[in-house]
Assembly symmetry: none
Homo-oligomer: 231 residues x 2
């Protein structure tokens, strides 16, 4: 699975160029144009690395780095500095950055830096990344039993967690009812079935804000979790 990299850069030209370069190198690059959407993007997915411009229209990269650090202690952060001012570099490192690169930069230089940093942080990320599901605007972390949307993190119960995990493993496909019942209760009778219905209702409520997410029922067969978007 390709590493996801978040780019926050207000210069659209430079941003798109960087994005297409990283994509061509086998990464999955997401571009945001300001602090606000940058943070939103960060909260809405799991990234292996962030590349932040120092100066942004609605603030600066340093503040954004701190916000990101608050939420994730380990994700590597690289700064893009227009000037090679020592002061900028130091501010970057103090905000929790791992490295910086001065514009204009040689793309291969950036690529090698990215590789070096990812190599070092891979062990860290791999444990968390593979276990997260993106469901519409929500992020589901079955390991921690959390369902987060932007700033809001909701901790769900063990049973809800197990059911949602099964639904996610077959996203956009039918998850058979008896399959869930056997997996969670070890047996499949009328009452367990009703219990499952209650849990489905609860999950639907959690996703009520996002109209693209649906848990459809397939009569007397099972349920389908679907979100309109591309995962």
């Amino acid at each position: 699975m390709a590493s996801k990299i978040l780019i926050v850069e207000d210069d659209t030209n430079a941003g798109l160029l960087l994005q297409s370069f990283l994509t061509s190198e086998g990464y999955q690059a997401k571009l945001a144009l300001n602090v606000k959407t940058g943070l939103q993007s960060f909260l809405g997915d799991v990234f292996s690395m962030c590349i932040l411009d120092c100066s942004l229209p609605d603030g600066d990269g340093f503040g954004l780095a701190k916000e990101i650090r608050l939420r994730n202690e380990h994700v590597p952060i690289i700064f893009l500095t227009a000037r090679s001012l020592l002061d900028d570099k130091i501010r970057g490192f103090q905000s929790g950055a791992d490295d910086y690169i001065t514009k204009p930069f040689e793309t291969f230089e950036l690529l090698y830096k990215i590789k070096a940093i990812l190599r070092r942080s891979q062990v860290q990320v791999s444990g968390v990344t593979d276990s997260c599901f993106k469901i519409g605007s929500y992020l589901f972390d079955p390991k921690n039993q959390t369902l987060s949307s932007g700033e809001v993190v909701r901790r769900i119960t063990a049973k809800e967690n197990e059911i949602l995990k099964l639904l996610c493993l077959k996203k956009n496909q039918i998850t058979r009812k008896d399959e869930i019942l056997i997996a969670l209760w070890g047996e499949s009778d009328y009452f367990k079935g009703r219990s499952l219905d209650v849990f489905i209702a609860k999950l639907r409520k959690y996703f009520a804000n996002d109209s693209t997410i649906e848990i459809e029922n397939v009569h007397s067969v099972g349920f389908i979790l679907s979100d309109g978007g591309i995962s």
Copy 2:
């Protein structure tokens, strides 16, 4: 315990200057003047990081880096390049370097790079080494069984220590209850579980002064130690 840094640099002036600077910053710096003594030094001790000059009298830093990599997959390597040639940088990264810095350099810039790289490589081995954990405003030293806040040092008991260590290793993540029970008692029954609850209550009391620290319960699953950061 100071981090040991190996410097391999043939320009004695620059080498000594760098050595004394790093020493003044609290590191333990060893200086070697060529590839041969550099490798000897590396093999004769354990270093947290290597800083290599590109051009050396009896070879170059790239070859040395490869030799070092052969023996240690993980030790961070920083190159000093006289020129800012892209080619040199790429050769450096290909030899397994983590970063480079062009001479003449601002010492503080190097210092921050060193800090950033050490921070990242320390996290990796944190599961192995019994280093200290930072928990909010507290410092937890599992080796000495101490929990200190400012001037105040409290010695905690063996069981408290073990439990807190497990929680710290998974900070902001769920530590499963049965995992703790098996690790400490070798079995997981009702009474051991109640005992664990008592210890959790004690730990909570120790952290009562710092409202950012929480030991949350995840019903029938386990506990989460968190200090302000959002998981």
